[in-house]
């Protein structure tokens, strides 16, 4: 059968990405231009800087994706782009570039929900031997810097919300925790690394169980970490006199100055305890929901899905609650964090549903998973 070749474009936050995917499953190329260095000094993503970088990165990133795939632009069957949720000024760059490409090539334009794309990262594979699809119903935990949602997926593009975070997203909690511990940005990998040398039992941190719901909350945990670490910090006045005033590398955009701790502060133990406190409710509630809704597959999605403690603990907990018949799947590392292969993957099922958009398509910075 004829394979549908889709170019995906993703510019919803701080990565400019393009990818070519065949039939929504096989990745022919995936290129990501990270803005990591641009935002690190600010301790988080600066929307205006992100939007600016997309404008200069979009051409080389798309050209690289086409070259890597060995595909001519005229061989593309459709152009897919992230429509939202995300940063408005960033989304606009990808949306308009994709639209213009689709128009000039005479191909359909597919608008993709970024959250849906994260979930469809689980359908991607790098080799020509495409494995069988995950079986429905699927219980999905979507965890990223902007989102923490527990979703029941009953069929392609059929999502039912079971729970969500009431305040910070899990990835955001990691970012804030890492900032409090002076571990850098992005927080997830930084915490995971520091935690690998620490003992999670050295400190007692609270978990918000929100009994009777599948919702999550991480703001209390962040506050508890702040209270715990404040007495361990070197006062800011002492630090300022030692290092001088902050440099102003990026002009009008405010820089972040990390806190300073004494050399013997138990940062590794704190990171381990914090990581465990974020992950435990995620794992327990996901496995419980999988059992309650008779899920045949459990999948992880989003940048935090790259966390190895989360993966290990979820495997064990699902086995305990659902038995050995329910596999736990997660995308390979490269497709957990923002990328365009997942956009092209999700697009394949949007195309099958005949859900194409016209030239008047807009970006939707606050789009939700169940919105059409």
């Amino acid at each position: 059968m004829y394979a549908v070749i889709v170019l995906g474009i993703e510019t919803s936050c701080d990565e400019t990405a393009a990818a070519v995917v065949s039939d929504g499953r096989r990745v022919l190329s995936s290129v990501i231009s990270s803005q990591f260095d641009l935002h690190r000094a600010h301790g988080g993503v600066v929307p205006e800087l992100a939007a600016r970088r997309h404008v200069t990165a979009i051409v080389p990133v798309v050209e690289q994706a086409l070259r890597d795939a060995g595909i001519d632009r005229d061989d593309l069957d459709a152009i897919a782009v992230t429509q939202g949720p995300g940063l408005a000024g960033a989304l606009v760059v990808g949306m308009n570039a994709a639209k213009a490409m689709a128009y000039a090539l005479g191909r359909p334009l597919v608008a993709v929900n970024h959250l849906e794309a994260h979930i469809y990262a689980n359908w991607l594979c790098d080799s020509p031997n495409v494995p069988s699809e995950p079986l429905f119903p699927i219980l999905c935990l979507l965890v990223s810097g902007g989102h923490t949602e527990l979703i029941l997926m009953t069929g392609h593009r059929r999502f039912q919300h079971l729970g969500r975070t009431l305040d910070d997203a899990a990835g955001e909690a990691f970012d804030k925790g890492a900032r409090l511990l002076g571990l850098g940005f992005p927080g997830g990998p930084a915490i995971q690394e520091a935690a690998s040398k620490g003992d999670p039992r050295s400190f007692e941190l609270p978990r918000a169980w929100l009994a009777g719901t599948y919702d999550f909350s991480f703001s209390g945990l962040k506050t508890a970490l702040l209270r715990l670490t404040e007495p361990m910090r070197v006062p800011e006045s002492d630090v300022a006199s030692a290092t001088g005033p902050p440099s102003s590398m990026s002009g009008p955009f405010r820089e972040h100055r990390p806190p300073t701790y004494a050399p013997d502060a138990p940062i590794a133990d704190l990171a381990a305890a914090f990581q465990q406190a974020v992950i435990e409710p995620l794992v327990v509630k996901t496995a419980r929901a999988a059992a309650e809704f008779d899920a045949r597959t459990v999948v992880l999605a989003g940048g935090v899905a790259a966390n190895s403690l989360l993966r290990d603990r979820l495997l064990r907990e699902v086995l305990a609650q659902c038995g050995p018949g329910v596999p736990v799947a997660f995308p390979s590392h490269a497709y957990c964090t923002d990328n365009a292969a997942m956009v092209a993957a999700a697009a394949a099922w949007v195309i099958r549903a005949g859900d194409l958009v016209g030239w008047e398509a807009d970006v939707h910075p606050r789009l939700s998973l169940t919105q059409r």
């Binding site: 939007a51 404008v55 632009r73 000024g89 308009n96 490409m101 128009y103 000039a104 030239w359």
Partner: protein, 228 residues
């Protein structure tokens, strides 16, 4: 970036787009015929620009791959609007390899008045009640910028105009501001509808650059970001 200029017999049209302000401006020009569209886009460039381009090209029976080059207003102006224009221009470049030519927005605003014989000041809104303006002096082959772009208040613009007489002013400003400028000694200012950027102005500037073999690097070209 220099390239081999198109041959004299090359009659391919160029497409120009200007999304620097709420007034959307696009044009198609082949050295002889100009067709254009302007519309009050406000904040809707993303939803309107490509439909407008389609109607312009469709009426002329032109496809994107038939174009010789694309001109784009690089600002100053509203950041999001500019990025919509850059997204579309770069998307066309990605699809067809179309060369891109960036034109300063205020030069396009001023060039229609190049034969007036006096210096020209052109302004555009910069948000939060501020304006950005440029000063040009007419030369035999176009406009020469006199000083760097200035970002300031209307009062600062008035002060600058007062010291320049005679001078021609143009640009998208409020009617009551225009009336105050009109009262200044030695300052001429056209009627409101004539203060919008003319589609032919951007077409003329981009066309001249294309025919002289001067195009921009499609990868690195970006809007002018002017902070205070």
């Amino acid at each position: 970036m220099a390239t081999t200029p198109p041959s004299a017999g090359d009659r391919r049209p160029i497409l120009t787009i200007d999304t620097s302000s709420g007034q959307g401006v696009i044009a198609l020009y082949d050295g002889q015929h100009l067709s254009s569209r302007t519309w009050p886009a406000d904040r809707t460039h993303t939803t309107t620009l490509l439909s407008e381009i389609h109607q312009l090209l469709d009426r002329a029976d032109v496809q994107v791959r038939d174009l010789g080059a694309m001109g784009i207003a690089i600002g100053p102006g509203a950041f999001t609007g500019l990025r919509v224009g850059f997204g579309v221009a770069k998307g066309f470049h990605l699809a067809t390899g179309l060369p891109l030519i960036g034109v300063p927005t205020l030069e396009a605003a001023a060039v229609a008045f190049a034969s007036c014989g006096t210096p020209i000041v052109a302004a555009i809104g910069a948000g939060r009640g501020r304006l950005v303006w440029a000063q040009y002096t007419p030369e035999s082959d176009g406009l020469l910028p006199i000083r760097p772009l200035r970002n300031g208040t209307f009062a600062e613009l008035m002060e600058e105009l007062q010291g320049m007489s005679p001078v021609h002013f143009t640009g998208e400003i409020e009617d009551d501001q225009a009336r105050l400028i009109e009262e200044l000694e030695g300052v001429s200012i056209p009627a409101a509808p004539l203060r919008f950027r003319h589609p032919g102005a951007l077409a003329q500037l981009a066309w001249r650059r294309w025919r002289s073999g001067s195009i921009d690097d499609a990868e690195s070209i970006e809007p002018v970001y002017l902070s205070r």
